[in-house]
């Protein structure tokens, strides 16, 4: 069968799952961030794929650009938070950041 929309979507889903896995399992905050970036990439693939196959104008791509920009912003903020966290706990091990515990 020819590669169509569904292939891209499955690829995206797989990428998403991997990113999710990283987010959930990783102890290191920076790695968690990487997982988030993966998830965003998966979403972007979806945008572009839909733009290609369903709605043929460029709106999807522009959305993807915006996502990238937002990702950059969130990465910057998140890293700042990580640095701050490090300042306080002298570690970026997320197991230790559990002040929300009930």
């Amino acid at each position: 069968m020819t590669v169509g929309l569904e292939h891209y979507l499955v690829l995206s889903a797989a990428l998403f799952s991997l990113g999710l896995l990283a987010v959930i399992t990783k102890k290191n905050a920076v790695t968690v961030l990487m997982g988030i970036e993966l998830i965003l990439n998966a979403a972007n693939i979806n945008f572009v794929a839909f733009a290609r196959f369903i709605d043929t104008d460029l709106d999807g791509q522009i959305f993807a650009i915006f996502v990238i920009v937002t990702a950059a912003a969130s990465a910057a903020v998140a890293l700042a938070i990580v640095l701050n966290l490090y300042e306080r706990l002298h570690s970026i091990n997320l197991e230790e950041a559990d002040s929300l515990a009930g």
């Binding site: 020819t2 590669v3 929309l5 569904e6 292939h7 891209y8 690829l11 889903a13 990428l15 998403f16 799952s17 991997l18 990113g19 896995l21 990283a22 959930i24 399992t25 990783k26 102890k27 290191n28 905050a29 920076v30 790695t31 961030l33 990487m34 997982g35 970036e37 993966l38 990439n41 972007n44 693939i45 572009v48 733009a51 290609r52 196959f53 369903i54 709605d55 043929t56 460029l58 791509q61 522009i62 993807a64 650009i65 915006f66 990238i68 920009v69 990702a71 950059a72 912003a73 990465a75 910057a76 903020v77 890293l79 700042a80 938070i81 990580v82 640095l83 701050n84 490090y86 300042e87």
Partner: protein, 166 residues
């Protein structure tokens, strides 16, 4: 199976493999490298999807920007020379189960949905940079501006948060 398809599968496999490396690897630097390749793979996928400009952006921003940023994060929080560049994992088994569940769900959704595909559009390969530039300055001007402000605010905020001794 056309050449096009082959290229897709190659890229897809490359992307997923790199991503898997990033997830599995215990060394944070290896993870970063895996992520890098994964980003490249996604850029390739964009090209296949006729999004040339986006592919370039992907490479420039992600590979050139975000990844560097992440690496900086690594450097600042862990000394590169230290032995302990490895990071552990937690709740691995339940996580894998849940994520697998999610993947299955997504897969099912994708398979069972009847997509309303526009057929003839597949062949078109028109450079998109000019059109995107035009759109950003017309229809998407306000989101563009907002996102610019957001970025600015995020950067200032990041700088503020990361300041020492706050």
């Amino acid at each position: 199976m056309s050449l096009f398809d082959v290229i897709f599968y190659l890229f897809a496999a490359f992307t997923l493999a790199s991503a898997a490396l990033m997830v599995v690897s215990k060394n944070i630097v290896h993870s970063a490298v895996g992520l890098l390749f994964s980003f490249f793979g996604v850029a390739g996928i964009y090209v296949l999807l006729a999004a040339d400009f986006l592919a370039v952006v992907q490479v420039l921003v992600y590979v050139g920007g975000i990844l560097i940023l992440l690496l900086f994060g690594v450097m600042l929080t862990q000394r590169i020379t230290s032995v302990d560049m490895r990071t552990g994992t937690l709740q691995l088994v339940p996580a894998i189960l849940a994520v697998a569940g999610i993947f299955v769900i997504l897969f099912r959704v994708i398979r069972t949905t009847s997509w309303n595909i526009v057929p003839e559009a597949e062949a078109q390969f028109i450079p998109t940079a000019e059109k995107i530039g035009y759109l950003l300055m017309t229809d998407f001007l306000i989101p563009f501006e907002i996102v610019s402000v957001l970025l600015l605010a995020a950067l200032i905020g990041a700088a503020f948060i990361a300041r020492k001794g706050t």
